[in-house]
Symmetry: C2
């Protein structure tokens, strides 16, 4: 089995810790290891380092090498610029096709998700492999535990094998009412953005549903033939359709399988999400700094210096050398607005 880790995200939700030059996947937000390191660590009992690949942007190659010093340089597939997940996956499948057989199975994983139950995760890869070898496009659907409106959903249909279902349809992020219906129906799962398929299955799916990708892949393969693995293919790559894999392929394909999983997954999409999965102290605080508290609770604090909290309730406090965030926990999504506003005024703080 081959693993492809997608690490192209620019991660603005963890500002001021995350920056364009240091996106979320390179942050130690959940442990002493960075998200991308944790993603690799999770795979190593099953997949050797030489069969683990990262696809990322040109500006993040050095950072990737720094975080994954044992990964061969040839295992870092470099997008000249971000083009969304369909082109990214087409490019990577094409790259892997040159090194492996068409029958080899690849799992596609985002670099910035957390999974608590590693055993459960590895077991799901075994299940996925079975379905992938039967020519399916496999998705891993997270069993919802609350009516989330922040994720897309996958509706499961007929049971193909025990614990594996045909996909009836993909659903965009629902409103609260629909989310409650999805939760109670029992056969809707969060779309985790994790996939599995044989190399030839996904390339055939591109040929069928996004055929304009194929001549671009031919040009890129020609560049690789001529210049080697670090060939410059920016010109053809710019012709790719800028689509997510869900819309470009998954929603259009026929043989799709969802494997429901329940292994403590989180995409850690906000400071609040990180707080929610962190261990708290007796006052429900998560204090990643030298913090003195008086009458403070429900806070997430991160700083490289001494912090005093007095009467702070449900606050996020993130200190970095050049920027400080103080936010109400309930409004932690608004960090995105701060980043947008910094972008608009061409600030160097993003």
């Amino acid at each position: 089995m081959i693993a492809l880790i997608m690490a192209g995200g620019v991660g603005t939700r963890f500002w001021p810790l995350s920056r364009t030059s240091k996106p979320k996947q390179f942050l130690n937000i959940a442990s002493g290891r960075s998200m991308i390191q944790m993603t690799v660590d999770r795979l190593l009992p099953k997949i050797a380092m030489e069969d683990i690949y990262v696809v990322t942007g040109a500006s993040q190659v050095a950072l990737t090498q720094e975080h994954l010093p044992d990964m061969p340089r040839e295992n870092i597939i470099v997008e000249p610029f971000g083009m969304n997940t369909a082109p990214c996956i087409a490019l990577s499948a094409s790259y892997l096709q040159r090194k492996y057989t068409p029958e080899d199975v690849m799992v596609v994983l985002p670099a910035d998700h957390l999974i608590k139950d590693q055993e459960g995760f590895l077991a799901s890869l075994d299940a996925g492999e079975l379905a992938a070898l039967e020519e399916n496009l496999v998705t891993f659907g997270i069993q919802p535990n609350y009516p989330a409106t922040g994720y897309g959903y996958i509706e499961g249909g007929a049971e193909l094998h025990p614990g594996m279902f045909n996909v009836k349809q993909f659903k965009e992020k629902p409103d609260q009412q629909r989310a409650i219906e999805f939760l109670t129906s029992g056969n809707f799962y969060w779309n985790s953005g994790m996939f599995m398929w044989k190399i030839d299955t996904i390339l055939a799916a591109f040929a069928a549903h996004l055929p304009q990708v194929m001549p671009v892949l031919d040009s890129i393969n020609a560049a690789w033939d001529d210049q080697g693995f670090d060939a410059d293919f920016a010109v053809p790559y710019a012709q790719m359709p800028k689509l997510p894999i869900d819309i470009g392929i998954m929603e259009r394909a026929e043989k799709r399988v969802v494997i429901p999983v329940n292994y403590g997954w989180s995409d850690v999409g906000s400071w609040k999400a990180l707080y929610d999965i962190s261990e708290t102290d007796d006052n429900n605080n998560v204090l990643q700094a030298d913090v003195q508290c008086i009458d403070s609770s429900g806070c997430y604090v991160r700083a490289d210096k001494a912090v005093a909290l007095i009467g702070a309730k449900d606050m996020i406090v993130i200190d970095t050398p050049d920027a400080l965030l103080v936010a109400d926990m309930k409004q932690s999504e608004a960090v995105k607005k701060i980043v947008d506003s910094l972008k608009a005024r061409k600030s160097t703080l993003i």
Copy 2:
């Protein structure tokens, strides 16, 4: 007229901005000028720099010279260690006696108070001088505008001259009920810690009410005779009674006058007090930093870097290179507890 500015305070209430090495009087908390500079600036239309003196601790002489480069070094009276205001004033009066006549009038002012109405302040000095020349110990009493429990009070009695009253008694900080009574009675004033008297009047008061001070002053004078103005008099000074001037002299003396004043005085005793006297923006924020706000109001922010506030209500945010304070405005007095706790663990952050 001579001015004596008492600048020995160690100011823990503005932590983390104020430190042992940089107390409140040396901070620019209310303007581009430090509190001690503002105190001198306020006097200069009436008193020449050569007649303005600062009494401070040995560790703060360099800082005083830095803030007041035009002040002659001989005008900085150095306490070998802090001993409270009675010894500090006895020492200073004795020092001034060597340079001036016994009939000269000195005004005693804390270095870290704010006064908005400079004209009103200077006019009160003229009034005070009149009372001082009549052998009175003069105090300036702030007309209360709310039932403060954080100040001592002075009860005014018979009117001596227009706008000048004999002092009936000094009152310790009252509880809320008493404070309301004081406010409604109309003849109680906050004890501002500002005084005025002739040099011989205060020295005679020491002789009468704290006679043990006199032989200490004799020893110190002998040291000055021998070694000049920067003589070492630590040994005799340690024998001084560690009392505030209010308890040591003012409460015991007979000829005492209070001049009620109403010139926008504040002792700026906390971050909240500073917020209260600062100009706010449309959202009632005082933002002394590059701050982006979303849904935030009633906040005081001070930082040398970018700050983002999201959903922050009535918060104090003070950032310094090695320590950060995030506090509920209503609990800003608890900063003292943080400093006490830092002291207890021998932190270098105070």
